[in-house]
Subunit: 584 residues, 2 copies
């Protein structure tokens, strides 16, 4: 029989009609001779009733044999429920079953199919098809599809052309680590999976496409963290002839559309703009969460004269005030915060509590002379806790920035229904890499430097600023973009500043430099991390919750056991040997 | 200055307005003191005029310096053209330039930016960004975006959920050759890029998604042919609880929508259905081009008695009649056809010409006795050419099928504006592989056998029929699908029939078999080859013409030189050695 509708969509208006439903058995209850079955499909749950007085023997026998997660087809009459369940969309009706067929049976599942799971991550991933049956996971994946649908419609309306770029590309060591794909035809040669279609989309601008977009998988072989996956999805955009401002406006429109169509929220445009330097100095982060204050305050000058070398001789002394938290944080609690501070490179964490007009705590005695100045500068009120970091400006900022976020979570200062979007602009072009011992691109080597700082490419690289912008949501980097270099000479200077020899630049990026010989237009764009965006919209805190089949934190799929060993024949065809493997 | 509109969109209604355009310089002509410039952007071409009597010295100087493919910004007044060009959408107007700025210069391009290119393929691919500037290529890529847009809207309306499936998956040697991706974290282990998300989408049905789609890249490491690429794009669909017929109807609706929205063509639904056996016997192909007749005719019985062993003793003698072609095909021409026949495994090609009531040609003398029967059976008319293949039935069919297509092309029998869609149904489950010396899946091992032939899984495999269907357009396989197995026992029998031991089946597909323990619903789906579909809609004969950055026939990108050598550090991190590479 053909299904009449989804079980989750049966309503009072269907009372008196005969319908056929197909779905999974949730709970079965035998109550006063009657059998009640919750029938679940992707749109919800509907109650089935089998009455031994009216049901055929066959129906009764089948109903009695049915267990959780069996797949069934049922036909019956929609009736009003005696006791309506107002918490269930189908709660006013039930189906009086007249025929029932088992389409497939099920063993007892390793965990119950319901919201709020307690199974561990690997069990969930191993039985992902069961995990995805849980309504909250299905809702997350539906939300994801709704978001991409909304984005596509918006960009199609703006005449962006959806273009697919290649997955088998050239390895470019600048940036994160590539996933490689050995070539069989060209032995010893490798493709790389794209970390992003950055150069390709620039070439599409060179080809005159004017407006490009793609929702596309990207790949980075990095060590995994909570919100990282080996493969992730990017909403990738590029435009020609537009200003930084115009690209940001298009992005704002996109986000406003998504927020409205998926969450019913009208966001206020334009989004606030914050300079990178201000973000670092006020929030200690290049992706500030502005849903709460607790701003970083600079006390370097104020404590210059105190008799406490840790403060008076530090390059920077900064503080955050945790309002009214003095009694909530014991010494032990603060020791924990100190551990956090050390993870961010701080040598320690100083603190005072302000109560009854005086400062208390280990370092209070050094601050007696400046108590009044401090109280004024920090707007201290009774029971405030003050945390200080005295260190390099960078360490002071990032440490307090991290503590700020942690404290807000601990103290529940954040309104989870608030969506604070903001642009961080005016970025440095380069950042110093301790690991590599050199300046590296803060974004990528194709970013346009701000004209007035361009000359520092041959001078002080720390002073070169980029025409770059990040879009931030609630303390997460949602995406980022920039105007790009379109003149060969400037691109060559950029490679040189990054330490490339002419030969190395040509070897790696010669095709891009050559393309700049042929009328490369001014262009710029942006990419949004789709996984993270959907994660935030879904109220989740791990992108795995919005990806159908993610990898675990060992980059493994517990279900299929990928990655796996492959046959000698496969390796032979690729002329590859695994080191340490048995040799014949 | 902000661009007012695309150059290709300026019309008579804009006369008298000042506008700013940005784009590429096509031709520049100096005529009677005036300078005419064709300004090109993605929407078309617009004529610029610089008049030395009215233009500033600066504008004149810039205009004189400008060469083809320079990127310029121009501002001016839209005026009516003295001599309108009715062949150009902008032909009624021209822009009287008041300001012009060169945004970037260009060297002489390696080929001219115009339709109908003569550069060779590798030059086109090496400078793909220039190749894509040619209006016909841009139009192809725009068409592609329009097709996917149309497909997505259709499937979204039908409540299909767009779900992204993983690219880093498990290698399954059954099927074509996988592209492998070495894992760094799990040394010696490999991911595989998906040949299709077949099992994954089945698991989504198990998860209760009910209707899934994705437009997704797939990968096969095969030797390349005209319409093959290492990576290709699939419109991938899967549904639960639907019949073969219902899935075909959804597909027909999808194709009708695309045809209407991209070509303005109303196709007639439902599409014709043809059994696989009929397609082979009448057209000699499992993807018949039904835009022309020239059907294969079976003469085995008719020639049983003739005194010509090649015919009388052959397992099958089949023929096609090339209407009125007798005078167009010399012996030499037919020799060429014979060569083709041999490529398909035929030992030779017999032929006769029918003229003035008699048969002529080398084998005519053997057919004297059956001339009248032949004439009647084949409905011969004056000047017909008849081609015979006497061989196994399979060789006779495929050889004549190939000749049929070739002759139709040579004789221009095909209407290129006709789109003949058709379903080929009732497929064999297995096909014999000479190479492997065993039966292999004609589609894949998850295809549901037709119930009445299921018992032959333990009997004669050639008799098992599949609930499978291919959608064919103008002689191309556009896509294919099937109902799938959802019961573990049947899936195990299928693996066994394919020669898997229990261990091998579990090793490869254990996760799928396990999933069948937990209420796997009846399901089925279909996948359409997007590249090929767009190629046919664009009237191209190679999918490279509808892919932005394809590989050449050595699976190489002449622009980036991918695949390329990678550093020792990269190989070391993966614990890989390339055989034959220099050892340190």
């Amino acid at each position: 029989m053909k299904r009449s509708m989804y079980a989750g969509r049966v309503r009072e208006e269907h009372i008196g009609t005969h319908i056929t439903l197909k779905g999974w058995v949730g709970r079965r209850r035998d109550l006063g001779g009657l059998i009640f079955i919750d029938l679940r499909d992707r749109e919800g749950v509907m109650q089935l009733v089998i009455n031994p007085d009216t049901a055929s023997k066959e129906v009764m026998a089948t109903a009695e044999s049915i267990r959780s997660e069996y797949v069934v087809e049922v036909t019956g009459l929609v009736e009003a429920r005696e006791q309506a369940n107002p918490n269930l969309p189908t709660g006013a009706v039930e189906l009086k079953v007249e025929a029932i067929t088992v389409l497939n049976t099920a063993k007892t599942t390793p965990f119950e199919i319901k919201d709020g799971i307690e199974a561990n991550d690997d069990t969930r991933l191993r039985y992902r098809y069961l995990d995805l049956r849980r309504p909250e996971m299905l809702a997350n994946l539906k939300l994801r599809a709704k978001v991409t649908h909304s984005i596509r419609n918006y960009l199609d309306e703006l005449e962006f052309i959806d273009v697919e770029t290649p997955f088998l590309t050239k390895s470019t060591p600048e940036g994160a680590r590539d996933y490689l794909v050995p070539s069989r035809v060209n032995k010893g040669h490798f493709y790389a999976l794209p970390q992003s279609p950055q150069i390709t989309k620039q070439l599409l601008m060179n080809a005159g496409f004017d407006r490009y977009y793609q929702i596309v998988k990207c790949f980075r072989d990095e060590d995994l963290r909570g919100d990282r996956q080996p493969e992730f999805t990017q909403v990738d955009m590029e435009t020609s002839f537009l200003s930084e401002q115009e690209i940001q406006e298009i992005t704002e429109g996109l986000i406003a559309r998504v927020m409205k169509e998926t969450k019913g929220i009208e966001v206020t445009l334009p989004f606030p703009r914050m300079k990178y330097d201000d973000a670092m100095s006020l929030y200690g982060s290049d992706k500030p969460d502005t849903r709460f204050d607790m701003l970083l305050q600079d006390l370097t000058e104020l404590v210059k004269g105190v008799d406490f070398k840790v403060f008076s001789e530090a390059p920077a002394v900064k503080a955050i005030v945790v309002k009214g938290a003095a009694d909530h944080y014991s010494r032990k609690d603060i020791d924990k915060l100190t551990e956090v501070a050390k993870q961010y490179g701080a040598k320690g964490l100083a603190w005072v509590k302000y109560a009854d007009g005086t400062l208390n705590g280990p370092v209070a005695k050094f601050l007696t002379d400046v108590t009044s100045d401090l109280t004024t500068a920090l707007h201290l009120e009774d029971k405030d806790l003050v945390l200080f970091v005295a260190d390099s400006l960078e360490v002071a900022n990032t440490t307090l920035g991290a503590l700020r976020v942690r404290l807000a979570k601990e103290l529940d200062l954040v309104d989870n229904n608030q969506y604070n979007f903001l642009w961080v602009v005016d970025w440095p072009m380069f950042e110093w890499s301790e690991e590599e011992g050199r300046y590296m691109s803060a974004h990528h080597p194709f970013t346009l430097p701000q004209e007035e700082t361009e000359h520092e490419l041959e001078g002080d690289l720390s002073k070169v600023r980029a025409v770059a912008y990040d879009i931030v949501l609630n303390g997460y980097e949602l995406g980022g973009g920039s105007l790009r270099i379109n003149h060969k000479e400037l691109q060559e200077r950029m490679f040189k500043a990054l330490g490339f020899t002419t030969e190395a630049a040509n070897e790696q990026f010669g095709f891009l430099l050559e393309a700049m010989d042929y009328g490369f237009p001014p262009h710029g764009g942006l990419a949004i991390g789709l996984d993270r965006f959907v994660m935030l919209l879904a109220g989740e805190d791990n992108i795995r919750e919005v990806i159908a089949f993610p990898k675990n934190n060992k980059a493994t799929d517990p279900m299929t056991q990928a990655p796996s060993l492959v046959s000698d024949k496969q390796l032979d065809e690729l002329s590859l040997q695994v080191e340490g493997a048995d040799q014949e």
